[in-house]
């Protein structure tokens, strides 16, 4: 088959496709050729013109395709620029995340080290926690390893701890609250428990469980409202129930 015959055959397919008479399976291939080949699109354009002239239809007085193609190209340029911007932002965000992860990881290191000391202290019998062994004024560095966020910063709470003075720290959720300044004997566990809880994200689960269990076991038992199982069952969707 000669090159001319091949071209002719291609255009024959194109003409059939223009009329919607090309088998569906061949359409994709011809569409690909048409999309790539300006010469074929010119013929395609003229096929459209021929039909319009034969039907005495009004012809567009200017060729719309080049202007539309330019607008489409501009659109694609904007989209590409937006994609590039988004990609750059993504890289920037990724760098930020890596940076905050590093900060978080370094925080983890400090927290783990401090946590290990705290755990060691908690594991000692309470009467062995000798406050007097601490310096007159200890600066306790509390590092809270928060989940990384966009403005992620490791919070460093530089807090002076004065021995024997109850600080205004938030109430512990694992040890009973101090009421009327009477619970001086639980002051140390509250501080330690808060510290351990703050570092729970980095503590090994079993160790955390063990540590917190120790703390909780030293606290008075608080009775909690119990949910009646029957009520819970009523609220639960029945198997096979349609919504």
């Amino acid at each position: 088959m000669s090159a001319d015959q091949t071209d002719s055959e291609r255009e024959s397919q194109l003409s059939a496709m223009f009329d919607g008479e090309l088998p569906e399976g061949e359409c994709e291939l011809v569409a690909r050729r048409l999309a790539k080949d300006e010469n074929l699109r010119r013929s395609w354009d003229n096929y459209s013109l021929i039909g319009a002239v034969m039907r005495s239809e009004p012809l567009a007085r200017r060729h719309l395709a080049p202007q539309i193609a330019a607008a489409v190209q501009a659109d694609r340029g904007v989209a590409t620029a937006e994609t590039a911007h988004a990609t750059a932002q993504g890289i920037d965000e990724s760098a930020k995340r890596r940076s905050s992860t590093l900060r978080w990881a370094s925080g983890f290191g400090v927290a783990a080290a401090v946590g290990a000391v705290a755990i060691f202290m908690v594991r000692q019998p309470q009467d062995q926690i000798v406050v007097a062994e601490a310096p007159a004024e200890v600066v306790e560095e509390v590092v809270i390893p928060a989940a990384p966020t966009e403005q992620d910063e490791i919070v460093l709470a530089m807090k002076p701890v004065t021995p024997g003075v109850v600080t205004s720290e938030p109430e512990s959720y694992v040890t009973p609250p101090i009421r009327d300044g009477i619970a001086s004997d639980v002051t140390a566990p509250v501080q330690l428990a808060n510290f351990v809880a703050a570092h729970s994200a980095v503590a090994a689960p079993m160790l955390r469980h063990s540590t917190l269990s120790n703390l909780i076991s030293s606290a008075p038992i608080v009775e909690e409202a119990r949910v009646e199982p029957a009520a819970a069952i009523e609220d639960a969707p029945t198997r096979g129930e349609s919504f």
């Binding site: 021929i50 005495s56 539309i68």
Partner: protein, 206 residues
Amino acid sequence: MSADMSSEASDLSLVQLAQRGDAGAFDALVRRYQHKVVKLVMRYVRDPAEAEDVAQEAFIKAYRALPRFRGDSAFYTWLYRIAINTAKNVIAARGRSPIEYDLDRPEGEESADLQARMKDTATPEAMALTEEIRSTVNAAIEALPEDLRNAIVLRELEGMSYEEIAEAMECPVGTVRSRIFRAREAIDNRLREVFDGGLGRGEVVG
């Protein structure tokens, strides 16, 4: 096989390529439908230049909306709705009332009216080119062998499918396909001579 139904497959192939970012595929869709869309918009917008602007805007809107085209309807049906809405929005934005359009008017009468409106506002160069194109196409059709001419007339003017033409002309469908292609090829060659001879379509079609 209905020609309208089967053209969906060819349009869909181009649409799918365009959806994947192939600008050439969308260009082919524009070239296929630009005259139809301008004609459609002229039912709503009186000024031909404005109708072309609206048609252009409709195509650009269609391109931007292309990722949402799922092929639930034919591409032209979808494009038709976009074009109509664009035209209506332009009319509303400019506080005009749409052209009163008589749906019962015969197709030929409508085309004649639209052509007259085109001529009224066309530049002499544009009018000359329109006439050149029309006379070239008509002369090329006249010069065709009878079997080619009959085949393309039945296709373009009567809108018959290849199968229907084959039945009417008592020949195989493959022969119909070949005749229509050869007719178009002959006219296409004449048109190229016109366009390449200094009356290029880059500026004005007709």
